[in-house]
């Protein structure tokens, strides 16, 4: 490009950016199929109703806490609405980086008039968090590599004799430690009490030791589906939506092992410190995007359960595949026979400590 051309186009870009910024609203999400489902279910209908608002996406949810903290220190918040997992929302709220929400004034009631605080119920885990979906971390296995008796118990993951081969687990202590204790004979409701002690942590690591040599550790949600598709592992943990697309969209010989799936939440927060005008616009978007119908709409595009009770009956068929989505939701009664509840408080406190131990254990 000639220097003059370059200068001209740079100037043009600056001008259009300046002109557009008046109506740009920046949403932050995870990218991929998940962000696409939000684009179709929330952003497109919202922009149709409000032609003066232009929604732009930033795929930074994975580093949202660190970035919001940096923005806060610099005094320049460039994000309007941010999609984060519940534990990050709690942390942002604790540090005063997210705005507190009053569910009954800021969020839409259910169609039958039930106030939002009841419709979301227990899922409102923080004063700043507006739940959107329930997802679960669970296992998928290769149907062609597990013999005649497919695994149906979480402890089959730890059974190298019945199911030889590699497994993929996430490269962090969360979930793995709980599963290890469950399979070491700890009752479900005592897992976190045991995990709070040094002996309990050692016990969990000892259990993980039994399969350590057969584990491939993942750090991105796309890793396990790829490892399963390539036949690198016989079973592996990941988010249930990733497994859904592997099984139903890519037609791989993989099946779900829902046993002891760990529920977690994902939702919106509004950063603290927005100007009044931007705050109102963000609240208006949130009011629209988290109403009963919109949450049910998102389930057309991805197999995550809507966070409102009133949305569940409205969940229909997949927009492209035309299959019923309800049986693929982690919250479906058939899939949720044995679930494990993630303890936010526990991990907020113990994460650094257990993570240091876990990483030291990994490096041994």
């Amino acid at each position: 490009m000639k220097p003059t051309n370059f200068l001209l186009s740079a100037a043009a870009a600056a001008i259009t950016a300046g002109a557009a910024s008046a109506e740009d609203m920046t949403l932050v999400s995870w990218g991929g199929a998940y962000q696409a489902s939000q684009q179709k279910a929330y952003a497109e209908p919202y922009m149709e109703m409000h032609p003066d608002v232009n929604i732009v996406w930033d795929e930074s949810s994975a580093e949202a806490v660190a970035k919001l903290r940096a923005m806060n220190e610099a005094g320049n918040i460039t994000w309007d609405v941010v999609d984060v997992v519940a534990s990050d929302a709690i942390r942002l709220c604790d540090e005063g980086l997210a705005m507190e929400i009053d569910p009954d004034t800021h969020l839409a009631p259910a169609p039958d008039g039930t106030p939002a605080s009841e419709d979301f119920g227990d899922l409102l885990v923080s004063e700043c968090f507006i739940p959107q979906i329930v997802y679960s971390t669970t296992f998928g296995y290769r149907t062609d590599l597990v013999g005649d008796t497919p695994p149906d118990d979480i402890c089959d993951v730890f059974d190298l004799e019945a199911y030889p081969g590699k497994r993929s687990l996430e490269k962090r202590p969360i979930n793995n430690m709980e599963w290890a204790l469950l399979c070491d004979g700890v009752p479900k409701d005592e897992v976190y009490d045991v995990l709070a002690t040094d002996e309990g942590q050692d016990r969990a690591l000892k259990k993980l030791d039994t399969i350590k040599d057969s584990v491939v550790w993942w750090s991105a949600g796309a890793d396990t589906p790829q490892l399963l598709a390539d036949g690198e592992v016989v079973m592996g943990s990941t988010y249930n939506g990733r497994l859904f697309s592997l099984i139903e969209e890519q037609k791989q010989p993989v099946a779900m092992l829902w046993d002891a799936q760990v529920f977690d939440l994902d939702g919106w927060i509004i950063p603290a410190g927005l100007s009044e005008e931007r705050k109102q616009r963000a609240l208006d978007f949130i009011y629209f995007a988290t109403d009963t119908q919109r949450l049910a709409d998102q389930a057309k595009y991805i197999s995550y359960g809507p966070a409102r009770k009133s949305s569940a009956p409205l969940v229909g068929k997949h927009a492209e595949l035309g299959i019923d989505m309800a049986p693929h939701m982690p919250t479906d009664p058939n899939n949720a026979k044995n679930t494990f509840l993630y303890n936010y408080e526990f991990w907020a406190d113990y994460r650094d400590d257990i993570d240091a131990k876990f990483q030291a254990w990994l490096a041994q």
Binding site: A62, E63, V65, A66, R69, R91, D94, E95, G96, K166, K171, D202, V216, W217, S219, D230, G231, E232, E345, A348, D349, Y350, R351, D352, D353, D355, A356, K357, Q359, A360, W361, L362, A363
Partner: protein
């Protein structure tokens, strides 16, 4: 010259001013102009490099959060002997309640809790849970507070809690640096971390060791390629050059992911070996998600940084020298070892510095192909920046890494001599 000026008085310029003065003025003008010309670069380097690095260095020792959030408590704790094994007096508890009410108002107490949780597990929940109830206390009328606080959470009745607050109340701390080398601050001075939490020193050692291995592998692979590039006729060497540069122009992520496809157990290399019958199907090689994977992928990715400086140095070695050696009866090996190789050393030096320094800070490739045993210290720094938010520790680790590179550079200068490094 000096004698002359002393005896004959100052020399004058055409306009009558002393020549020295006039010369100085024009030199100053020249310097100003030079400064003006490099000003954009200078400002850029200052703003984008010196200032961030300075602020990172500062963050690794900065610790004003405890004193800023709990000013009265820190003062009151001065008179408490943390080694006595007894709880502090009522005045500390009262000061603490006053501080906390202000901190809760500003939402600062949870941030302090997270900060102290890096040192002692449970501090975060202690501050968070107690915050909701301390908010309701009135410092004027509700005293005494010692019993009340211990009722709210028995953590306030634990000597350790107050020890942690006092130990970490200094505004400038060495705590992060101690943590970075697997130690910690205690009332009795620096102590080692418990055995099962020591990880960082090991990671530093591994980072250095693997970077050296990668540099070595790059030298071995790059030398023959550079030699070919430098000695073949232009048409052939241009072709070879494109082959070297093509991967260099491809995205780092693409190349790393390609290695994943190549190296995994059901991957291209293993499939080929099994097909050739060199490896049994149930004994496929494990060459990814470990150190071997990181070394292979990073050697490939960093190879151009070794080849290019080597090539440009080898190009300047006159072929007549080797011909002269041969004409005087030297064997091929002697010619290479005594004549050619010594002249190519500056290229090896430049390439090695470049590759080693790049390797030591590598992050994304080890993350993708390194598994658990092939990751570097930078992966830990990234974890503390974006997940645990322990920026102080991340800064301390980064500072140590910077210092290690500078020391190695100095050692290299002493042994090889930085004047012997040439980029062409």
């Amino acid at each position: 010259m000096t004698d002359a000026s002393q005896t004959a008085g100052p020399m004058l310029a055409a306009d009558g001013t002393p020549l020295k003065q006039s010369l100085a003025r024009s030199l100053r003008r020249q310097k100003l102009r030079a400064l003006f010309l490099i000003a954009p670069l200078l400002i850029f380097v200052l703003v984008s490099f010196i200032v961030p690095i300075g602020s990172m260095l500062f963050r690794s020792v900065e610790n004003s959060i405890v004193r800023d959030t709990l000013p009265l408590t820190v003062d009151a704790l001065q008179s408490w002997d943390e080694k006595s094994g007894e709880l502090p007096d009522e005045n500390v508890y009262e000061a603490f309640v006053r501080d906390m009410i202000v901190a809760i108002e500003n939402k600062e107490h949870t941030r302090l809790g997270s900060r102290l949780n890096y040192e002692e597990t449970g501090m975060s929940s202690l501050f968070r849970r107690s915050g909701r109830q301390i908010k309701k206390l009135d410092p004027e009328t509700d005293g005494p507070f010692k019993e009340k606080l211990i009722d709210i959470h028995d953590g306030w009745g634990d000597v350790k809690t107050w020890q942690v607050i006092k130990t970490h109340s200094v505004p400038i701390t060495n705590g992060y640096f101690l943590n970075a080398v697997d130690m910690r601050r205690t009332p009795d001075g620096p102590r080692m971390q418990p055995e099962d939490k020591r990880i960082l020193v090991k990671l530093f050692g591994r980072t250095l060791f693997m970077s050296l291995v990668i540099t070595g592998a790059c030298i071995l692979l790059a030398y023959p390629v550079s030699y070919l590039l430098a000695t073949q006729p232009t048409r052939v060497s241009n072709m070879l050059m494109i082959l070297v540069l093509l991967p260099f122009w491809t995205s780092l992520l693409v190349r790393t992911s390609a290695w994943k496809v190549m190296l995994q157990q059901q991957g291209v290399i293993n499939d080929t070996l099994v097909w050739l019958g060199l490896v049994a199907d149930d004994a496929r090689l494990i060459i990814i998600n470990n150190q071997i994977g990181t070394i292979i992928a990073m050697t490939h990715i960093l190879l151009p940084f070794m080849i290019l400086p080597m090539y440009s140095v080898m190009q300047t070695i006159p072929p007549s020298y080797t011909r002269a050696a041969k004409s005087m009866g030297a064997t091929n090996w002697t010619t290479f070892w005594r004549i050619y190789f010594p002249q190519s050393i500056p290229g090896i030096g430049a390439g090695s510095i470049l590759v080693f320094i790049l390797a030591i800070g590598y992050y994304i490739t080890p993350e993708i192909v390194g598994g658990t045993k092939g990751v570097f210290i930078s992966n830990r720094i990234a974890y503390h920046i974006s997940s645990s938010l322990n920026w102080g520790l991340a800064a301390a680790l980064g500072t140590i890494l910077l210092a290690v590179v500078l020391i190695l550079y100095w050692v290299y200068d002493k042994i090889v001599g930085i004047d012997n490094v040439k980029l062409g």
